[in-house]
Assembly symmetry: C2
Homo-oligomer: 233 residues x 2
DNA sequence: TCGCTAACCTAACGCCGATAACTTCCGAGA
DNA sequence: TCTCGGAAGTTATCGGCGTTAGGTTAGCGA
């Protein structure tokens, strides 16, 4: 549909002997650009990628076992920036709890900025992906590990009750943020321009709810709110 | 792959004169069964459905404009049961707040029981679906309308601070529940057999967080928790 | 019995992911 | 300088997909 007049013999020059890896990089950038430009997985066909690079479809398979692997690597590149973005957002936070909130907001914003990548990685059924295959593995690396650390810090200052598995708490917080992200991506019309308000509300509410849950000491709501935004207990 | 030996001329008897609608129903049930059995959108191809019914692919188009419309109707049938399931779950609740929790749990359980239907309807980009196109429309019908009512009831008994738009609050609660559902569907390995624990934690936390947010009166945490599970203020 | 038309079917188009087998051509070794 | 192995592609093709154009059959009213 888009300028595929078929008569596009703008062939790419064949790579020299040891430079076979060059095509691999060109394919990756072509796929990445195509996904970013169209915002649609369907637009990133092997044929479209090959055409953009100036090569025939089977050549792709010299460097990637299948389409899935190609998309996975493209998304992997994008998601590699997630951890850094979340940590940067939490940098100036006044308290661990505030850091948690900033991380959550950065997470949802990242999803909004890379909607199709997010959808490919986190909104498709993936029973046995390349990534971690259980919660413990996930908790040991990247952004989720930092999230768990952040939860632990909240427990240490008393914002969260200690004793609960920080990994499970982090999973709950992740699920809430993921809900906002997934909803915004799948149904942008639902929220309109109030995406920021929604993500703030959900993330803060879930965080405060976890802070409140399990408490048996008669802490007042105001005390709790104050404690959450303070550095000390 | 599955018994498509091609030599399956078990042709269906052509419908009589006024009974053209019969094929439509047969196509719907075939598609529904196929989706339920395989749990995969890809398995529900026009050709596979036609084959199961005992008809040729183009015949499908006599009753459905395209594949999308067929899937939409199949999912619509399933989702028609969601509202009833949520209301039934909230029936015996001791308080509006408990009703909110039961509704949320029922929602996630519904998603787990119909994962592929849920994924088709709520985890794919749908800029202009047949359904409601803005939040107000959505708030006026079905399960979401009941959720909004439930939020309003929580405001009336003082569990939630009044003044906030109940629709927005309901949206936030929905997002949190959706996060759990979407995570469980896309990455079942993450949670293992603790799905119930995760959904309970997220739903309760978000509800309590919303109950706490916006409060300026020095209500104690314990008082608040107690109030949430009581019928009266 | 005729003929209209509802209810199908046959054939085909253009797309897709993927594979087998062929060609080109660089560059190291004789 | 010539050769020839193998890296870096190509051509041809398969089976499957959604969808469309146009032909065929059979039941029912006249």
């Amino acid at each position: 549909m888009t300028s595929s007049t078929k008569a596009a013999p703008a062939r790419r020059r064949r790579a020299r002997r040891g430079e076979g890896e060059r095509l691999r990089e060109e394919v990756l950038t072509a796929a990445r650009d195509l996904l970013a430009e169209t915002g649609s997985e369907a637009a990133v066909s092997i044929r479209a990628v090959a055409d953009r690079v100036g090569v025939t479809p089977p050549s792709i398979y010299l460097h990637f076992p299948d389409k899935e692997a190609l998309l996975e690597e493209v998304c992997g590149e994008v998601f590699a920036r997630l951890d850094a973005a979340m940590e940067a957002a939490a940098q100036g936070a006044e308290s661990p709890f505030a850091g948690l909130r900033e991380r959550g907001l950065a997470y949802v914003r990242f999803a909004i900025e890379n909607p199709e990548h997010y959808r490919l990685v986190l909104m498709r059924r993936q029973d046995l992906g390349i990534g971690p295959t259980n919660l413990k593995e996930l908790a040991a690396q990247g952004a989720f590990a930092h999230l768990v650390d952040s939860v632990r810090a909240c427990q240490e200052i008393g914002a969260f009750v200690p004793g609960e598995d920080p990994t499970r708490v982090a999973l709950a917080l992740w699920a809430a943020a993921h809900g906002v992200a997934a909803l915004l991506i799948a149904h942008p019309w639902l929220v309109g321009d109030d995406a920021e308000a929604l993500m703030t509300r959900v993330i803060e509410a879930t965080g405060m709810g976890i802070a409140l849950s399990g408490r048996t000491d008669p802490v007042s709501g105001l005390q709790l709110l104050a404690a959450l935004d303070a550095n000390a207990d």
